[in-house]
Subunit: 379 residues, 2 copies
């Protein structure tokens, strides 16, 4: 291609700026215009590039491709629809937007014949969606991963360096690992969005993020991390989805005790790791930086290259979403403030306590965990 | 696709049989015929499937795709040429054939417009070629990996379980990790073939396997492994290629001391791991089983799926092969039998000895290592 590819960039936060910088020495590409929410805050944008709005950029006949890196999922979705109608390919890192609207986004791509690519929405630059989509076809039974960089960074900082939660969170935000609204990361919703996207590409079913059982690290206390250490493991926010025997599906995001023998144990700091388990019982790991300006910019760049080669997602046949297996059993460790009562009829036994908490262990089904949330709150 | 894809299978050794078994429950595919060198040895091939020769299978109008899994690289190349002329896509696990003839294979694909795919030739089912080809475009500065499963298995067995070399090799062969001609693995040639292929896909240059400085694990002694352990590391057969500052290239396969902090330290047994280092200094790891019947069969299966989606390799612009940087310096540890003299003018100092060997350390350039092979032989 002799002519430069002309790019319209929506958003100039951590990721947008990272992408702009990545493109600086790529001669075949040109950032045509940039739209930001608060132009007054962006004296760092080169003169002449600032656009009045994302819609203006999309409508600009000189723009070939849209790169979207804004925070607001609903606004991003409106821009996506506008872009597809205008025939402009749309490359995004917006996991919440994609996961929330995926069935509609699939239909829109098909209706307008224009691709949407979003590798950067899952684990930044690590090609996990690509691999789920194109590779190991019909041979993956389950995935287990650490797919949120900021919670992993926080847990590493709390466990290894004894930082307080608030300090670790602040560091993660300063380094650009955590979203502006950190609750999405901390409470597990960000990981649920990514898992939802991966499940669609792996098995052709759509499970909305809110249908996935998820909780984050908001209730992890320093003593939990120390306890984990004493057992020779550490606590990680683990995303898991698998086919169970009956061709039903299980999916959750939960803080789990990960032992040294587990390959995910060495996934620390802002790194992500996704293990794909194949039908032979073998494991395949994809590992790298899962958040931050440059890794995410790299994900966008990879999609831009893929688009230029004619790549698009092919979504497999959809199966019924009610094929959940909520009878799936998990071994759990729960701590409850002293004085608080457990719901009845749970297969849990107290095994330890301290001045404030009683520690229980036992077996619960996903249904028992989904039906109420006594275990999510520590008061 | 309603009609079954009809496959001609060449070879029914560890890999061919593994592929046949993988296809057993895949309804959209059909193994039409199988060619083997010694039909008398294959009573396990279902009646009616045996073909007189690979050429017969390729000529069979009912065969859509050729899957090649034979040992002999030259015979495989003849079959490949015959298949492309006949318009039959050719999927292979034959790293020696691909690496040795890659420039010609690129030209043939272009001349006949028929694809050759060979993901299984590098690290079995791990999508390393795919990633080098399609992903991180223009952003990878270097790769470092453990890309030979059998030597890694042998080193693990020798270091961890104190097995003798011969016993460890035998186990590797029994498990199907080692080629029939084990010297290819042991002496590093197998890894050099894989590295050569990866370099072409990453940077668009061709370096023939024999142009790569390589040595294997044939001279690693139990005391070397113990010494490594005392330093907190272990010896691994490491493949490395990188761009140096001046846009020149370095490539080698050498046994290296890998410390615990290195992500490749935990790549043990028959596992492979490939680290891609990006221009930002970040590392990306692809990890999984790099040899054996099922992982390799999975690589062939992935290529079959890719072919059906219209995938083909796009080779980037070739640069001059003389862009080697042989001034590149390595810190080396060498042991020389007592009484043997070192070549003159080498920057090496003796730091230890035992009853049979003197141990040296120091800095040598790739040129000094390439120019003669005193360091390869322990007498």
């Amino acid at each position: 291609m002799e002519q430069k590819t002309s790019i319209g960039l929506l958003g100039y936060g951590v990721v947008g700026k990272g992408f702009f910088e990545l493109l600086a020495d790529k001669e075949a590409f040109n950032i045509h215009r940039i739209a930001v929410k608060h132009p007054g805050l962006h004296s760092d944008i080169p003169a002449g590039l600032l656009a009045a709005s994302g819609y203006d950029i999309i409508s600009d006949p000189e723009v070939d491709v849209i790169i979207e890196a804004i925070d607001d999922a609903e606004e991003a979705f409106e821009l996506l629809k506008f872009a597809l109608k205008a025939g402009k390919p749309f490359i995004t890192a917006n996991k919440k937007m994609i996961a929330t609207h995926l069935p509609e986004i699939i239909a829109l791509q098909s209706a307008y014949g224009v691709p949407v690519l979003y590798e950067a929405a899952c684990c930044a630059g690590i090609p996990v969606i690509r691999t789920a989509e194109d590779y190991y076809t019909d041979l993956v039974n389950g995935i287990t991963g650490i797919i949120n960089g900021s919670t992993n960074y926080i847990l590493t900082a709390m466990g290894r360096y004894r930082y307080r939660f608030s300090h670790a969170l602040q560091l993660a935000q300063e380094a650009g690992f955590a979203e502006r609204d950190a609750s999405l990361d901390i409470e597990g919703k960000d990981a649920a969005c990514k898992l939802s996207i991966l499940i669609t590409h792996l098995w052709g079913i759509y499970i909305a993020p809110d249908e996935i059982l998820y909780t984050g690290i908001q209730n992890i206390l320093p003593q939990d991390l120390r306890l984990a250490e004493h057992t020779g493991g550490s606590i990680k926010l683990v995303a898991h989805a698998c086919k169970t025997n009956e061709d039903r599906f299980v999916s959750y995001i939960l803080p789990k005790l990960v032992f040294r023998e587990n390959i995910l144990y060495s996934v620390t700091h802002e790194f992500n790791g996704l293990v794909l388990s194949d039908t032979y019982g073998d494991e395949h790991l994809l590992y790298g930086k899962g958040s931050g300006a440059r890794p995410t910019a790299m994900g966008l760049w990879n999609d831009l290259q893929a688009f230029l080669r004619g790549y698009k997602y092919r979504y497999k046949k959809q199966v019924k979403p009610e094929q959940f297996n909520n009878d799936y059993l998990l071994t759990v460790h729960v701590s409850i403030p002293i004085g608080l009562k457990l719901p009845k009829d749970l297969d849990l036994v107290a095994y330890s306590d301290d001045s404030r908490y009683v520690y229980y262990t036992g077996t619960l089904s996903l249904r028992q965990l989904s039906e109420n949330d006594w275990w999510k709150h520590k008061g």
